[in-house]
Symmetry: C2
DNA sequence: CGGCGAATTGACGGACGTCAACTGCTGTGG
DNA sequence: CCACAGCAGTTGACGTCCGTCAATTCGCCG
């Protein structure tokens, strides 16, 4: 519950908070508290009123949507990311349920405090708008990814994105169960298996959670990654000085900030 | 080019602008200009830098995304709506191309001016954040709609939403070509025809652009509309006093404000 | 009147979901 | 320490949904 200074600094360094005035930031943090959750905990249910802005400090979490007894994963969150911002800003009910995937440390900030801070600190309000813009654009990418690409293409692009986010080495490890990945990519687990099997022809070797990309050029020719869908490849001109936060939201829905 | 007072007032009445200070609003409008475009005009291409915030005053417009020679419609816009806000806030390249569907009157406001106004007027910055939140939530609904529902279910829900937006009468008229609707709903024109044919069993009668819903209860049982996907059915408690702007963005992607 | 494009219909094939069986791992309890 | 239950993952068979291609009709505009 008592928050370590290291964590406070990590939060303060987030684009969302870094431009806020000190008193704004303090006001937000005094109403906030840090909490540890075990894996598989539901933090917030679809349809619930939203009282807090969440910040994932450590661990892994998931946002999912439901309809007619079907369920789909809309995003997998990594530290450090905020989520449920949009609902907080509008003081509206949640459209997605939030669940921890791994044991997680999560900072909860009063939604009321966030709305008050926006009205009093224009710099913070601008930061919120920028954060939301990045989230919005992340979702636009997600929709394009879903509607324009086939299942194996989505998987191929996910793997290429994950590869660069894990340092660019030839082998990467899936950060969570394949069933979650399947749901994130919009297919069934069975179909994900088959999609992996398809990619064997393109030099993708799977061993449990370890995936090796043996012939990147070949896989790339299949995946056809695009900077207007896959946020991990921004033109270098845009990286410099441009809002870094936008790079957080990837095409596959894995985002550093998803609301 | 000279903007009528009627139009200025319509813009000022938008949630995005209604809370802004007078000088903020004036500053935004002096840099802006109104322009008429014929049907089928491309206003902005995917990948282009975005210099203006657009406001559709009259007519009909479309946002679309492309990849690998495939194209999909992400939203169909009606007056009065703003679009491309997120790209303006981040001063980023457009992720979608914007096209007029019908002859349209469009107000263009300097993006630079918008960003300046946000920094100087906290109330305006808050309004931008609220607008973006509504847009974000509209897209979340779109993704859930896409990933969780089948083609005929999407069509059924679109028809029910369109019905209420056209006054609730038993017959409605499609606002644009069926090929656009097909693309919006994530299917081919051929498949849309078949989906309409399926719905005949549920009391849907099609006659060119005129669609009649003869047995709403039956269609509703198929569509299973949900307030967490279909924005047109908000609980009455949420309608009162809550951000009206969120109601602009419908599940099908038809939005009054899409950025 | 002729031509173009939108819409519909049919036939076909491929992609994806569903169901079921089987494997392998893990954690639990006897 | 082992037996077993439970779950993730894989594989196969099958059916359905949906995209593709082609032909036809219709309405609109030149």
């Amino acid at each position: 519950m008592p928050m370590r200074n290291v964590d406070i600094e990590r939060v303060r360094a987030l684009p969302l908070f870094s431009t806020a005035a000190s008193r704004t930031f303090d006001a937000l943090m005094t109403g906030g508290f840090l909490q540890k959750f075990p894996a598989g905990t539901t933090l917030l249910m679809e349809g619930d009123p939203v009282d807090f802005l969440y910040v994932l400090i450590e661990g892994l979490a998931e946002l999912q949507g439901t309809w007619n007894d079907k369920e789909t994963t809309l995003a997998v969150l990594r530290p450090v990311s905020t989520f449920i911002l949009a609902a907080v800003v509008l003081d509206a009910e949640a459209l997605m349920t939030a669940r921890t995937i791994d044991r997680s440390d999560i900072l909860m900030i009063s939604g009321e405090a966030v709305r008050r801070a926006m009205k009093e600190d224009a710099a913070f309000a601008v930061a919120v708008a920028e954060e939301l813009s990045g989230c919005y654009r992340g979702l636009v990418r997600t929709v394009k990814n879903q509607k324009l690409r086939g299942a194996s293409e989505r998987l191929a692009n996910y793997l290429l994105a994950e590869q660069v986010s894990q340092g660019g080495g030839p082998t990467l490890s899936l950060p969570h169960e394949k069933r979650v990945l399947a749901s994130l990519l919009g297919m069934t687990p069975e179909n994900l298996s088959r999609a992996f099997a398809n990619l064997a022809d393109y030099g993708v070797l799977v061993n449990g959670p370890e995936v090796s990309i043996l012939r990147p050029a070949v896989l790339d020719r299949l995946a056809k990654p695009d900077r207007l869908i896959d946020s991990h490849l921004q033109p270098s001109s845009a990286r410099i000085g441009m809002a870094a936060r936008e790079c957080h939201a990837s095409a596959a829905g894995k985002a550093a900030a998803y609301n």
